[in-house]
Symmetry: D2
Subunit: 350 residues, 4 copies
């Protein structure tokens, strides 16, 4: 069985495993105050420029709820695209820490500066605004849940509206590497550091066993952030496991190599789907492919491939997701491409 | 200035004020354990039939957050119409006690049994359902935020789907009297008691200084409900103030008389709007009228009348709300009708 | 039966009831934005000096949880005396909005500046401080739960340590009038305004049907406070009921007259207890008397008087509380004194 | 520098690392639904007997807040010893999910059945009980924060009072192996399964990189537990990492071997301290040693050893903690013993 259903089917990149093995019996103090976390924070800070704080957490939901809980007063809400992970796939984690998530319409999982402005202005001009939650944070994802990326000018526009309206901009980068390595993306860590109040660099889906590196530039958010990590259950006792992995990922660019590897294989798949005439509703150069395939084709693929079902997409068709990852083997993609061609051919003939 | 903007512009019905005056210097124990609360609960229970628990709280948001907090486990969500008061106008009170509010599309503020079934089935059939909040409560309002009422058969259908799928049915009756006294409504307190797990009878908007009487039939919800009232800040020290008022409202039908009074005056206004050709998007026989009026007319009305602005309704028109209440004087409605006719006439001529 | 068990057995002072009657059928806008609330806030601000914000809420628990939720970030805790109302008698309302309540030892319900300093320094000097909640607010009560009052110099010392350590000082004044009118108290509203970040003036226990007037001097706390009142269910629809009552209480000093009345009657009772040789563990000139009485005496009193049982106080004795209030009649106190003398005499003879 | 400050200074036992390496490039589905988690749950269930549910979480605070949030209604509280980890060292994590933690006095971090009974009865007999949180869960730790263990009869007594009073018994086993392998302990996993509603088996401090295995026997708690894990941020994407480690720890008793190793080395240290005349306030056969040492001795030790400072222990003395662990090398203990003897001798002579 070949897995294309998500980007966390394997363990970690071998180099990370080796580093974990090599340091295994060393003794260090815990909770992320060890030299490995320090070194990892330093290499990340060097790429980000400026003086952001860098913290390491274990997973994405944990990171989202910790950051949002740190940033908002109890009556404040967070805006996101209707596909936003915090809105759709975190079991109400944000509401559980007290905040309303306000979904805005989106085709590709991205928000626009104009949507944010209109929503916030609408609230502020409402005479009864105290009767509704106050929008205070903008949550965006990159790559988005549908694989889309922001361009620099789009992100600058969102940044500008956040400054204008005193909003906090939070970028969820669970798939940040795949996003930044999309050929259409003109952003890098330095730009994100300049434009976001807080963002994170996903490790779980991009070569690590687990781990998300939170980069905070907003001074108010920096204060006491470790208290919140601890309270929300995210302060790993053996914190160095995170430091060791992120240091390995960032000391020489491995993180970006792995993302480019996945994006490249996804591009080949995308070409094949296009060539076979299947519709892909969202344009993307990242590792996720959303494509509408005939149900009859999907039935045949199921015996050899695991992919992710989304929703019906018109008569006899379903929208499905194929993911590549840092760990996807080229040979498996080649085989999938062959099978797609062969099975599609049979369907056409049939 | 004449107020038609809401149904809580005045104090309380004179009979309630007299009862408060007469008992003012009596000494009783506090927190709703006095004879007046007991008597009020008894007259309400008599109307409801069965053996529901009856509790008295001060206001609607407080009641909603207390009931929902009592009913749900942390990962469970509440379904409501997109206009639902808990979704739109309570500053995230439900999220602040930890629960996601899931709005469903609605034209008139009502839900259908079918919407509920589809939403809950969709959740239960989702392989990754643990990644999304679990729908467990259905919150409906009567009269709805747009003045609509449920018929008995509609409510029975919702009740049936709640039993089928093990959901809790909660009816917010901040405007219950106006709803029950809508000529089109074939429900009464007895029917509500049979069909809902919990509902409340609004006093604030229907003749009392303040107060909502919560009627609980669900055994699990009955347990320890007073702990929750206290914790959420809703246990009035001089609880008898609530008992005195609700006893007066229900001992001889005053509550329903007052609602019918308001509905009758609203009907006259509605007739006038219809006669003048203005559109009223929601059919209703309750005290709230939503009507699309020309902005030029609204400008002239504003100097003498207070009403509630909602949103633009096409070129040169706005949707506004006029409310009557238990305290609305017939003469004021007559004057408003005259002014509407006169000013509309001028506009037509102009 | 004569009630001395608490200070909220009656309704409201007749002058307040008259004011409510007189204004009953007036129409005003809701949610505390009416002219009566404005007038009440103005008279209170005039007594407070400075430019504090004044808000009106319905009850004490509601006020405590709203203020604390407004003031603290999620990982911050509030210090109080071990008898603190928020610690003992609010069903975990503060924990329910997410904050740990840290009780400190106290004999009389008061805190000292030195206790606060040591506790906060202890936290800050702890290498693992992120693993423990961060003390950020000091909650004090006046009169305290045991009837004690702060002197100006004691409060100045607490204020100073709060400034020094960047803590928020919150005074719960559910019984503020009784406290300020204790002959031993050299504080007034002006001093409280200068020394506290936020405090409230209790109405419920001191002449009103209900109501607590929150006075906020801290700029950060002022921001968006109405959002929090609404979210926590404390924004009374007919907010003017609060404004009307507080205006009446403060426009000419009625509030303080009523408190002095209660304190004076309590002083007479206290004299009697002392004369009969009963121990009163806390010195106080307020309306609450804690006294250790023989169980045999209490049994006889019970047939005519309601008082508040606290806890066993050595062999054959119990600590009980007697309260006077703004509504206590002198004749009832006279009768209680006679009965105490007579019954105590019988016990001695017997 | 030799670390004796805690039991999580190293990575994982080599056998676990090998298993992680060997499976690293396998593809499995995520979130703990893989075959490794299934196998690990099975070996644990076999040791527990009965049919408990077994879930794997990453860390202790996360586990505590998830279990407690799953078990309690909003107004319910949890009882623990005053040293309880949830009370002292989790930054208010339990309060942040809404529950009051009620500490009871303890000398060694253990609770007694009688304490529980008295506290709960006191609550239930209180006429104003709705004004205080309702005790519903008993949280105990084993080994306790001070290294103490429960005997079977002690735990049976606590179990009995929980059944009698309808309380939920939760045992935090962050150091469960060390506790069970204390020679004085007559409990095993089977007994815990029979006596507790829920407990967990700590991996982080006992040979794993991280991980706590939650064992649930209470039917109500089993329901929907995975929703709560996800909402609280504890559902590890690559859940198999937990399954792989716990399978390795439990397939052939490695877990208990490692704990016995640590306990044995601790016993040697304890002998030395006793021989040198230093006081150890808590009797224990586990891996933690609390001992009062002269400050002058501690100063000299500090240059070569890391240990954990607790609090002053009388003139010139401090209470400190030394921990051994699964990873402690015998040679390091030997060296510490030598240094203790030598330095103590110098102090005596000096």
């Amino acid at each position: 069985m070949l897995y294309f259903n998500c980007d966390y089917n394997e363990g970690a990149h071998p180099r990370l495993m080796e580093a974990l093995m090599k340091t295994n019996m060393e003794q260090t103090i815990g909770y992320g105050e060890d030299p490995y976390c320090e070194a990892a924070a330093r290499v990340i800070r060097d790429l980000c420029k400026g003086e952001p704080d860098v913290h390491f957490l274990v997973g994405g939901t944990q990171t989202n709820l910790t950051v949002i809980s740190a940033a908002l007063r109890p009556y404040q809400s967070v805006l996101c695209a209707q596909q936003g992970h915090i809105h759709v796939h975190e079991t109400g984690a944000i509401e559980a820490v007290g905040h309303k998530v306000v979904p805005l319409p989106s085709r590709d999982g991205k928000l626009t500066a104009e949507q944010v402005r209109q929503t916030v202005r609408g609230h502020r001009e409402d005479g009864a605004r105290e009767h509704t939650p106050q929008p205070k944070m903008v949550y965006i994802t990159m790559a988005s849940e549908l694989g889309a990326v922001y361009t620099k000018s789009e992100l600058e526009a969102i940044h500008a509206v956040c400054r204008e309206l005193d909003l906090i901009l939070f970028l969820d980068g669970a798939r940040l590497g795949y996003g930044l390595c999309d050929p259409a993306c003109d952003l890098d860590l330095e730009a994100l550091t300049a434009l976001c109040d807080v963002f994170y660099i996903g490790g779980t889906k991009q070569g690590a066993l687990f781990g998300e590196a939170v980069v905070i530039t907003n001074q108010a958010l920096k204060t006491d952030f470790r208290y919140l990590i601890k309270q929300k259950g995210g302060l790993l006792a053996k914190g160095r496991l995170l430091g060791i992995q992120f240091f390995e990922l960032f000391r020489d660019g491995l993180y970006f190599e792995l993302a480019s590897h996945a994006n490249g294989l996804a591009a080949k798949l995308r070409e094949t789907f296009a060539e076979l005439g299947y519709e892909m509703p969202v344009e993307s150069g990242t590792n996720q492919i959303f494509v509408a395939l005939p149900d009859s084709l999907l039935e045949r693929l199921e015996s050899s491939y695991v992919f992710d079902y989304n929703h019906p997409a018109g008569e006899g068709y379903s929208l499905v997701r194929f993911c590549t990852s840092w760990g996807t083997k080229e040979e498996n993609v080649v085989q999938l491409i062959e099978d797609l061609r062969r099975l599609s051919g049979q369907l056409t003939e049939g």
